[in-house]
Amino acid sequence: MRFGGLTCVDKVSTTVEENELLGMIGPNGAGKTTVFNMITGVYDPTEGDILFNNESIVPYKPYEVSKKGISRTFQNIRLFKSLSVKDNVRVSFIKNVQSKYFSSILQLPKFTKEEKEIDKKIDELLEMFDLLHEKDEYAVSLPYGDQRKLEIVRALATSPKLLLLDEPAAGMNPTEKVDLMNLIKKIKDLFSISILLIEHDMKVVMGVCERIFVLEYGKKIADGKPEEIRNDPKVILAYLGDTHAGN
């Protein structure tokens, strides 16, 4: 991926296996979010290809990528501000909704039935993540941790096969981080989906990820199990700098 003359992400190649939790780490500006944006179709890669279920998803627009089964959260929370918690989740159901424009206006029986089903599904999801008591609040009035959680629930409501989490632990305190780790594990167990996680917090990454790959300046420098990554000299160099630089 290049922006003008700036090569931002260079020949990064990896695979996320089915039902795998892959962590992506790297120093600031390494291109992690750019990778996300390429996968979800926000940017089109200038070179290379992205395959999902053996199908190239490069030509697809973001909403089409979402329909294919890839969902994401955002580094800086992007909830729908003027919508309630419930409606934030509801939006995720639109892509599969059967009663569209005209049946919504005419309120056909099909529409009424479907609305009830969706209502039920939303309630179940919110219940599962302990947000049900806040369902009628405006999304932005939730505490920070719950907003992050709601974003994940919203992404899950699109019933994805691959979930991309962009720094879900950013700005959280240690207790919230522990909750988050449990949440991620829970999602993986309950929904059996693949998760690609960007995270800065090593505790979280090492705690939940089965495999980690490391980016630096847009290049992959390591890929392996958490223990391997922890002891990889290149990774340590990237994160901590060269301790012998002065000599």
Binding site: S71, F80, K81, L83, I94, Y101, S104, Q107, V140, S141
Partner: protein, 344 residues
């Protein structure tokens, strides 16, 4: 809940129908104001779908109104002999004629809305406002130069000569030729106007409160997030734009068949702004607020007639004061953050 809104809709139509029976006894001046209130309600509610709910700042609503208005009165005058022959001149025949021209006017406006919307809705905010404004001006200037609909002199009817020549003005060369003048028929009445008010309120209400319709609001709040949740934002924007244009066209038809005379100047920049003001004053995305603003902004200039030359100054001042004290609009809402959240 849904049964209730259906019932409310049907009963309101019944009420409108009954009131219409007594419409003859209403003072003509008040009657005119009431009709204009209805037309403005339709305009404001339809623009609210675009500007308020979907968050796309359109400044060209008068253009769609002009298309609907002009097309419909051209139809109902140029084809007056045809309509009279086919459907007769009774109430029933006239109603059918009116329904046809209403749908034609609305559809034409919607089609133009589609044509304008597809390229221009890629733009955001100010840029979209300028594009739509430019488009509305183009419509006006084109109408101003079309002789078949009266050009800059306005359009009040058609002279149809026995040799088949049709013209909105007397033709000099055919002075001695016998002709019939077909004026714009006065089809619009209380019933038709408020029937469409009821329809658009019901329509937009149902749309916005459905799962599918929540997509419009999500586009307003955060396009990137909406796209990532599988929402085709372009499709939602265009469909809001087309729906808005359709009802603006309908409002134009109602206006044309009430005023019985259309002038390109009726649809200038100020008319578009007036509709935008109704939406902003009422509160973007508040149905009831926008309707009340439409009523207020139609009545206010009438009340201020007593102070004649200061009228527009007071009108503008009131708008400024309201905006300073309630920037979110009369019935708009601000998302309130719960401050005592942590105390729980």
């Amino acid at each position: 809940m849904q049964v209730k809104s259906k019932l409310l809709f049907l009963s309101s139509i019944a009420v409108i129908f009954i009131i219409n029976l007594f419409a003859g006894s209403i003072d003509p001046y008040f009657y005119t104001v009431i009709i204009y209130i209805g037309i403005n309600m339709i305009l404001a509610t339809s623009l609210n779908l675009i500007n308020g709910y979907t968050g796309q700042f359109s400044l060209g609503h008068a253009g769609f109104m002009a298309i609907g208005g002009y097309l419909s009165i051209a139809l109902s005058t140029y084809f007056a002999p045809f309509f009279q022959r086919t459907f007769g001149t009774g109430v029933f025949g006239e109603s059918i004629t009116f329904i046809i021209v209403l749908l034609a006017g609305g559809t034409a406006a919607a089609l133009v809305g589609l044509l304008v919307g597809v390229p221009s809705l890629r733009l955001k905010g100010d840029y979209l406002a300028i594009t739509t404004l430019g488009f509305a001006e183009i419509i006006r200037v084109v109408i101003q130069n079309m002789d078949v609909i009266g050009a800059s002199q306005g359009f009040r009817g058609v002279y149809i000569y026995t040799n088949g020549v049709k013209s909105p003005q007397m033709v000099q060369d055919l002075v001695d030729m016998p002709n019939i003048f077909y004026a714009v028929p006065k089809f619009t009445n209380f019933f038709w106007t408020f029937l469409f008010v009821a329809i658009i309120v019901y329509y937009v209400h149902n749309l916005i409160n459905s799962t599918y319709g929540r997509g419009f609001l999500s586009v307003k709040d955060d396009e990137i997030a909406a796209e990532s949740m599988g929402i085709n934002t372009t499709k939602f924007k265009v469909s809001a734009f087309v729906t808005g244009a359709f009802f603006a066209g309908i409002a134009g038809v109602l206006y044309g068949h009430f005023n019985l005379y259309l002038n390109p100047e009726d649809f200038n920049f100020l008319k578009s702004v007036e509709i935008v003001v109704m939406v902003i004053l009422g509160g973007m995305g508040s149905m009831i607020g926008v309707i009340i603003a439409a009523v207020l902004l139609t009545i206010l200039p009438e009340f201020l007639r007593s102070v004649s030359e200061y009228r527009m100054i007071i009108y503008a001042l009131l708008l400024i004061i309201i905006m300073l004290t309630r920037p979110q609009g009369l019935f708009g809402f601000k998302v309130k953050l719960k401050k005592d959240k942590n105390k729980k």
